[in-house]
């Protein structure tokens, strides 16, 4: 694959050199400089089509199911409860695989809606100025619908986002031309988005509860008392 990439880049880099020569010869006139540029572009397009098809065929033919374990949690059947026990809250796991978006950027959206109620998350995602927010919103709507239709959830507004995280999907490597016969690598990244909706009200503090000054003082004192003083008796 690398040999093919180098040959492609060398072939393409020869054409700009020719164009540069033409520009240096006729620096005064602009119109001759434009016309020589288009034929190399056509040639390069025709060249890379076959090569890219050859490259991508191997990728296409590989088995690519995406993650499969996350949706298996929907098949867990919990044992029946007694009448005096607290009823178990329903939960639904859902995902959307191979979204054409960077997982590093999608993480911000996933972390943003974590711990929100579903209605609040859908409201907030309308104002998130990122391309992946649309996919996240659609995934949450799908999960909400599945919860009501298949998992015996009574009210669709009585759900909150218990888990929301991003996985890496497929990465296609592209090529970008640099100077002096060199080339740079371009990564076209995909990501998977996973969400788990749980029934009930969202908790007051999804992450660690912020400590009051008294609690901070107590933990500091505990740490001070339990520390090891070296070079002591």
């Amino acid at each position: 694959m690398h040999k093919v990439i180098r040959q492609m880049s060398q072939l393409r880099l020869q054409a700009p050199q020719g164009a540069a020569l033409l520009r240096s010869a006729d620096s005064s006139s602009i119109s001759p400089a434009i016309s020589p540029v288009s034929p190399p572009a056509l040639q390069s397009k025709s060249l890379h089509t076959a090569a890219s098809a050859g490259m991508l065929c191997a990728k296409w033919n590989k088995y690519n199911y995406g993650p499969r374990k996350w949706l298996e949690y929907n098949k867990t059947v919990h044992p029946p409860q007694e009448t005096d026990e607290e009823p178990r809250n329903a939960y639904v796991c859902h995902m959307r695989s191979n979204i054409k978006y960077s997982p590093d950027k999608m993480w911000y959206i996933a972390a943003f809606v974590r711990g929100m109620s579903v209605d609040e998350a859908l409201k907030q995602l309308n104002f998130v100025l990122k391309k992946g927010a649309t996919d996240v919103k659609e995934t949450i709507l799908e999960a909400q619908q599945i919860a009501v239709e298949r998992h015996n959830v009574e009210y669709k507004s009585n759900l909150w986002i218990a888990e929301s995280f991003v996985g890496k999907g497929r990465v296609f490597k592209g090529v970008r031309r640099h100077a002096r016969g060199r080339f740079g690598k371009v990564e076209y990244k995909h990501c998977h988005y996973f969400v788990r909706l749980e029934e009930g009200e969202p908790p007051q503090h999804y992450y660690q509860e912020p400590q009051t000054p008294e609690q901070q003082y107590e933990s500091w004192m505990e740490q001070m008392r339990s520390r090891k003083i070296i070079n002591s008796l």
Binding site: M8, S9, R12, A41, S44, K45, H48, T49, S52, A53, M55, L56, C57, K59, W60, N61, N64, K75, T76, V77, H78, P79, P80, Q81, T83, P87, R88, N89, A90, Y91, S97, N98, I99, K100, N126, F127, V128, L129, K131, A133, T134, V148, E149, R150, H151, N152, E154, Y155, G169, R170, F172, G174, V175, R176, R177, H178, V186, Y188, H190
Partner: protein
């Protein structure tokens, strides 16, 4: 990259529009003071440039030319969205031959696709006394319908010497109990011995994602064969027999959902159940067995108790799918069986004999 940038700009404009609507919704008179800062905020957002802007815009076109264009496959496209010509051109590109247009598969017909000449239970069965006029009429009608069943029983006995309509009730009850017990236990391999292939998907679909507690307490009346029919499928020698048995029993049913919460029924309360169950056997097959095939739900039966869950009634569909999913297994089976019987009634009325039901293939 430029496409992505333009897409981002469009997304930003689309996402800003709800804000505009909110500003428009505000009443102009009293809250006019509040509206202007909102509009300023909206204008500020609209003026915002994209984050990937380069500091030297005059070479934007040359920067674009640095990228070697490659056709990224759309990993999220669905098979049904691709047109035939597109699929054909892709297969040509990859050198894939089209699949064979014909498929050779062996057929094995082990049960029929429905009930032929379904039994119509008399109204108020199990409740009205013989002394009343309607009870007496039912007795007379029963005698009229019995002759055809007797001929069918004689036909069954010519294939199966041990068959007796008086003794078949107990055997049928045993099959019935075994089928429901294995259904509740989700034993999908053992249930095949007691349930025909037509009935199997309905039962297993009802059991999916649920826990069922079912118990057969006692039989209020001895099970009785009320109907029998024999028909052939494709050839004269391929005979199938269907026998309808009337059960009046006391049962306990409790259905829990995926999370162990009670959906329907109770483990304490017992219910009297009046059922007309159809059993089928491939009598031409030497090793054929009597298996539970279908249930007949009379129209006069009172409606089942709905599930306590709140559901939304979808007015477009004839029956809301939410109700089906929320209901219990019996109600689901009842509803589906009711539909099947309704569909078959117009088929059964024009043709009396030589009816060939649809095959469960």
């Amino acid at each position: 990259m430029e496409k992505l940038a333009s897409a981002k700009t469009c997304l930003k404009l689309l996402q800003v529009m709800p804000g505009v609507q909110q500003a428009a919704l505000l009443p102009g008179g009293g809250l006019g003071v509040l509206a202007s800062p909102l509009q300023n905020l909206i204008q500020m957002q609209q003026v915002r440039h994209r984050q990937t802007k380069h500091w030297k815009p005059e070479f934007k076109r040359l920067r674009k030319l640095k990228f070697v264009k490659m056709d990224l496959p759309n990993l999220r496209e669905k098979q049904e969205d691709i047109t035939k010509e597109e699929m054909r051109s892709r297969m040509k590109e990859r050198g894939v031959l089209p699949p064979r247009p014909w498929m050779e598969r062996p057929f094995h017909i082990s049960c029929t696709g429905g009930i032929f000449e379904a039994y119509v239970p008399p109204e108020g069965d199990g409740k009205k006394s013989i002394i009343s006029t309607s009870g007496a009429k039912q007795k007379l009608e029963f005698l009229e319908k019995k002759s055809k069943s007797l001929m069918a029983v004689r036909k069954i006995r010519s294939y199966d010497e041990n068959f007796s309509s008086d003794d078949f009730g107990a055997e049928a009850q045993d099959i019935y109990i075994q089928a429901h017990t294995h259904m509740a236990a989700k034993d999908k391999y053992k249930i095949r011995e007691f349930v025909s292939e037509r009935c199997y998907p309905e039962m297993m679909h009802n059991v999916k994602d649920k826990t069922i507690r079912w118990k057969f307490l006692q039989s209020l009346e001895p099970p009785r064969v009320v109907h029998a029919r024999v028909t052939e499928v494709i050839t004269k020698e391929n005979q199938f027999a269907q026998v309808t048995v009337r059960f009046h029993s006391q049962q306990m049913l409790a259905i829990y959902d995926r999370f162990g919460r009670l959906m329907h029924g109770s483990e304490i309360i017992t219910k009297d159940v009046l059922e007309y169950v159809v059993f089928e056997k491939h009598i031409s097959n030497e090793y054929g067995k009597w298996r539970l095939h279908d249930k007949i739900i009379p129209d006069w039966l009172p409606a089942k108790q709905p599930a306590p869950i709140t559901y939304r009634l979808i007015e477009d569909a004839e029956e809301p799918p939410k109700e089906l999913s929320a209901g219990d297994a019996e109600v689901k089976q009842v509803d589906s069986v009711g539909e099947q019987s309704k569909e078959q009634l117009p088929l059964a009325t024009p043709v009396e004999s030589h009816t060939k039901p649809s095959l469960a293939i």
